[in-house]
Symmetry: C2
Subunit: 214 residues, 2 copies
DNA sequence: TAGATTGTTAATCGATTAACAATC
DNA sequence: TAGATTGTTAATCGATTAACAATC
């Protein structure tokens, strides 16, 4: 165990993948797995897996490998999957609605509790289990329900104002689908960006530059 | 110039960001920028920017810096933004519809030309400019329109079959929103994965582990 | 020309891989 | 006990940063 150290970002970003693959192994009815076999399945090296896991502690057993159920639970706990942070979604346009309906928040550590939009025409419209609230009700709602995080599905130009208001409501963690760069203005915020445009352009690059190598 | 070499993956993944920031600088009415000033804005080092760009050629001028319009165009060309690859979307559920309507494909190198779904109840429903087609019409459609890429917004368990059919239609590039691991079965496919669940869990980790450091 | 800033080489840093002793 | 496989240290590799000569 050396959990006192700082965990490299790369390791952290692999944790959800480990969690996901271990879940799949459980579905296959497997009980235990060696770093070698897991590496084969995940396309990593066995060394890397052992190094990664040992940032958090010794979860395996020499001569045996890793107990899948246990390891998955432990990784889940490290991520905090069982904390069920309250999260609200801001911006109930196409993308916002899809995110609200598509994601299984409860399995990923969150509990979606409300949708907000600044467009009055959307107020009251039901999306899944939620009626869209007007953004002006944010403060009141947050005082009562104290959400931890917010999902931003808003246009970039609204980014700063909206984020400021959320931070005023003691929300400090953001899942950001907009191009607005939260950390520039709010360096202490916890931010996870999803830049779909960038991802699409990366695909474009890879297509463009595969054609040139015949 | 040393464009003969292989470009590191990290460099490629930064290209869309460069492109995006340069666009913002243009919007601000700027004409030229030094690697130093750009590094300040993007939160990188000037060294890294110069290194990155020099993988593709010398775009700057000593004593002057970089012409923003030119540099942006050149990066756009490297990505292939002006190739407008035909792309089809498979799976017109919440997420698929949102992607179809939300993304500005034309500005990212693609031209969305059709939506498919295997649910007959959805056939004919209009999403933006498109009527959803039944998946059984895929082959016919592809023969006529020869799409280059497909966006997968389908459940993972349908992944293999759907991908096989798409590959049979000469589609070899995938923007994959599902958990299905395309490269396992089709190692030659060009794949860009978007794992929203993993991203959300990374946010969860960062919240969980910020609380513990008071 | 002098000043600024690139392109590029060298140094550093961090992450991945390999190796192996510890141990179940 | 013998075999398997971990946890961990050491070696390698690659990416980032620093430095500086080239040059606009």
């Amino acid at each position: 165990m050396k959990s006192n150290n700082i965990i490299p970002k790369n390791v952290i970003s692999r944790l959800p993948r480990y969690y996901r693959f271990l879940g799949m192994l459980l579905d296959e009815g497997m009980e235990r797995i060696s770093s070698n076999e897991l590496s084969r399945r995940m396309g990593l090296t066995a060394s890397q897996i052992r190094q990664d896991l040992n940032h958090f502690g010794g979860f395996g057993q020499q001569g045996y490998g890793y107990n899948i159920t246990q390891l998955r639970e432990q990784i889940g706990h490290i991520i905090g999957i069982d904390n069920y942070y309250n999260v609200i979604l801001i911006g109930a346009g196409n993308l916002g609605r899809a995110i609200a309906q598509h994601l299984n928040f409860q399995k990923r550590g969150f509990n979606l509790i409300a949708l907000f939009d600044s467009d009055e025409k959307l107020t009251g419209i039901r999306i899944g289990n939620f009626a869209i609230r007007h953004f002006s009700q944010l403060e009141e709602f947050c005082e009562e329900h104290k959400p931890t995080a917010a999902i931003l599905c808003i246009p970039s130009n609204a980014g700063k104002d909206v984020t400021q208001k959320l931070i005023d409501c003691n929300i400090n963690a953001f899942w950001n689908f907009s191009h607005y760069n939260i950390s520039d203005d709010f360096p202490d915020a916890i931010v996870e960006n999803v830049h779909l445009n960038d991802s699409l352009m990366t695909l474009c690059y890879n297509i463009t530059n595969s054609e040139e190598t015949p």
